[in-house]
Every structure is written in structure tokens, then in C-alpha cells.
């Protein structure tokens, strides 16, 4: 055990670097995924048919194909067309597109879950579709979105480990390196723990956001998918 701990101590700087890469992929990926999910989620409920089709095709493509293969395309195939990016940026974009496609479904579902009476109430006040979305529907859908995003973010954090496939020395890579000097069970145990702690921190943050958003709607902080706006 002492050997394990000593090896761990020696590996700390490298583990720190690995965590830094993983956090970059997480934060960057989450940011891109958020933007992608909002854009394609909103397009998917657009009254204009062609916009909806574009959204469906994009979402289905990135949800339906493997993240690893998407990563390979971005990293190894795109340079053949003259587009080459640094590995972290490639990871961020691949994660963002893939998880953003799932996120688009969260956005679409949450917007559709806002009580129909809220849309009608806004229309009866002669709000334009944009004002209605921005001022009335989105703030209510947001509460529903946050629990979905929370789930997705945790999945994205764990998904960042695919960075290994394009040679990034992320947390997953450094854990694998640690294994050389320690017991396998020890190294991978540390791996579980570190990923868990990162996920826990992110999840706690989002839950705090969700709690605050629920309070603003006058909902109790407890039950999740109460239909926003019902009977108000």
C-alpha cells in the first residue's frame, strides 16, 4: 500500500495535468453542447419546415453515430480537407456536437412541456413569437431543462475519456500511466474517485441553479418534472 501511495504522490503533477485537460474538455464541451442544444432545440420547434428538417438531420446524425468515430473524422479526416485543429479543440467540438445533439432533445422537450395556457396567455397579450419565447416560455422551460442538462453534463464528463483516442493526455490517460507503478486496482480506483468528484462538483452546481430557478417560479425545491405554469 505504501508503494501505491508513494507512486501516487510522484504522479500527482501528471494527474493534475490530466485533470486540467479533462476539465478543459468538460467546460469547453459543455459550452459548445449548450449552444448546439439551444440552437437545434429551437430550430426543431420552428414553424418553418426546412429549419425543422435541418435540425432533425443534424441531431439524428450526431446522436446516431459513434462519438469516437466523429472524433476520428474531426482529427484525422478533416485535415485531408485542409482543416486541422489542435487536439483539445477537436475534443471540445466533437463532445459539443455529440452531447449538444442530445441536449437539443432536452430543449425541445422542455419547451413543449410548458403548459399550453402559457403560450395562449402570451398570445392574448399580443406578444410576438420572439417575445413570447424570451420572456414567458424560455424562463419556464429552463427549470425543466436544468435537470436534463445535469444528467447530460455528468455523461459528458465521463465521455471526455474518449480523448485518449486522439492522443490527449487527459485524466483517463494519466490513470492508465499510474497503473504501471501501482496495483491495477489502486490506479483504477483512483480513476473512479477522481471522475466521480468532478461529476459531483458539476452536478451540485447545476442542482443549485435548478433550485434557484424553481424558487423563482414559486415551485417547491423538491419534485422534478412538475408541469411549469399549470393552473396559474
Amino acid at each position: 500500500m505504501t508503494d501505491n501511495l508513494e507512486a501516487l504522490r510522484d504522479a500527482l503533477p501528471r494527474l493534475g495535468e490530466g485533470v486540467a485537460i479533462t476539465l478543459q474538455l468538460t467546460l469547453g464541451g459543455a459550452l459548445v453542447a449548450f449552444i448546439v442544444s439551444v440552437v437545434f432545440g429551437l430550430l426543431s420547434i420552428s414553424p418553418a419546415g426546412p429549419l425543422r428538417w435541418v435540425s432533425t438531420v443534424v441531431v439524428e446524425f450526431f446522436r446516431g453515430t459513434s462519438l469516437v468515430v466523429q472524433l476520428f473524422w474531426l482529427y484525422y479526416v478533416m485535415p485531408l480537407f485542409g482543416v486541422s485543429m489542435d487536439a483539445v479543440l477537436t475534443g471540445v467540438i466533437a463532445l459539443g456536437l455529440n452531447y449538444g445533439a442530445y441536449g437539443a432533445e432536452i430543449v425541445r422537450g422542455s419547451i413543449n412541456a410548458v403548459d399550453k395556457g402559457q403560450w395562449e396567455g402570451a398570445t392574448a397579450l399580443n406578444m410576438s413569437p420572439l417575445t413570447r419565447m424570451r420572456r414567458i416560455i424560455w424562463p419556464q422551460a429552463w427549470v425543466l431543462m436544468l435537470s436534463g442538462y445535469n444528467n447530460l453534463l455528468v455523461m459528458l464528463i465521463k465521455g471526455t475519456a474518449v480523448a485518449l483516442f486522439i492522443g490527449l493526455q487527459d485524466l483517463g490517460y494519466q490513470i492508465d500511466e499510474l497503473r504501471v507503478d501501482t496495483a491495477t486496482i489502486f490506479a483504477y480506483g483512483i480513476g473512479l474517485l477522481l471522475y466521480y468528484l468532478i461529476a459531483l462538483a458539476a452536478s451540485t452546481g447545476l442542482r443549485a441553479l435548478e433550485k434557484r430557478a424553481r424558487r423563482r417560479l414559486g415551485l417547491s425545491a423538491g419534485s422534478v418534472h412538475a408541469s411549469a405554469g399549470a393552473a396559474l
Partner: protein, 254 residues
Amino acid sequence: MPPVIRFEDVVKRFGDTTVLSDLNFDVAPGERVTLIGPSGSGKTTILRLVMTLEHLTEGYIWIDGKPLTHDRRDGNRVQLKQKEVAETRKQIGMVFQHFNLFPNMSVIDNVTEAPVHVLGRGKEEARERALALLDQVGLKDRADEHPSRLSGGQKQRVAIARALAMDPKILLLDEVTSALDPELVGDVLGVLRDVAESTDISMLIVTHEMQFARDVSHKVMMFDGGQILEQGAPADILSNPSHDRTRKFLDSVL
């Protein structure tokens, strides 16, 4: 003066079901009309068509002589653009059975939201007017509360203030007391009587409160099967209907 609302050959179908067939009627400026009839007779659909919450299958609705959603141009029926619809729709307000207050804002913000963000009024001006309206409906002291803390009757009074804040020419009341506990109905109807007496807003009212209909409306229209069965002064229709169908309906609700 043109009628404030004119239905011309209006047809509304949901799939294969025809809810309104070739409906024609006028509402004069300042007139308050109550629509009665069994459920499924199309009353609420009429209100929802005027509010543009439903798509008009055939025919025309004219507001103050201007087309609402469809216009007749060179003999063709043309659907109007969003912006054109909004220009006419700003004269119309609606109060719903289930209030539809916005839970993401306080009571007062519910009332000032559209004046500020739709009509472009100043925040202070909108706030003052909202407070006056909340005072009128007896809820000035609840202005900063969250809607979820109000009773059903209070929510509905806020919804009335919210609709009035847009200075509508036409107010649509869709079963506004149907979702309320019986002891809360009186307050809401009291507020509406007050609005009816103190303004010249035209109203289309769908209600099962026959005494209220008798007190505030100039005209009652009895609907059955998507058409007007009979219409006239409330005293005539409600006390002395000429159709058996109307009599049966009134017996069932009184």
C-alpha cells in the same frame, strides 16, 4: 360605425369534425354578448378564433372593419402575415378559465409585462397603471407577491387586470369562473360587473352564470351544433326562450 366584431361565413373544423358551420354575426361597438349553449356547441371556439388561438378554416373575421387573420383580395381569400395579425390583435384581450398567469414573474410584473414589452410603454408609466388596475380589482396590496400564493379568485382578478392593462377594445371572457370554488365566484363577477359599467369595452362572454349574463349583457346568443339557434335580449332568451332546445339547456344549468 362598422361592427367591432363581424363573423362572415365562418367555418371551423377540427379534422373531420365541424365545430362551426357558416356562422355569421356582428357585435356592435360597446356591446356585450353572452354565448350560451351545451358544451361542444362551439362557444369557446368562437372566442379562441377571435383571439387567433385557433386557425380559421373558412370565412372571415373582421375587427372594426379590418380583417383579422384572412382578407379578401381580388376575390381571393388571403392569409395575413404575423405582423398584420398582431396589428389588429392588439385591440383584443382575453381572460381564460385557468387564468394562465405567468409563474416566472410577480403579480405586478404579470400586469406590466405586455404594456412594456409589447406596447413599448415606459416602466414607470406601466407600473402606475398596473397598480391602479390592481387597486380596481382589490389586489393592490398583493402586487409584489408571487402568483402561486394567490387564491383562484385572486389569480383571476389579476388576469383581468392584466388584460385591461393593454386597453383592449374587445374583451373575451372564457368561462372565467368555472375553475373557481363557489365562494370565490362572486368577487370575480363583481370586478367584471364593475368593468362592464365603467368602460365601453365590447365583450364576448362564455359563462354558465346566467344571472351574470342577464345583468351585464345586451344580447344573448344560444348556440347548438355550431350555429346560432336563437338570439335576443337576455330577458327574452333567458326567461322566455322560443326554442325547446334552449329551454332544456337553461333548465339544466339553472
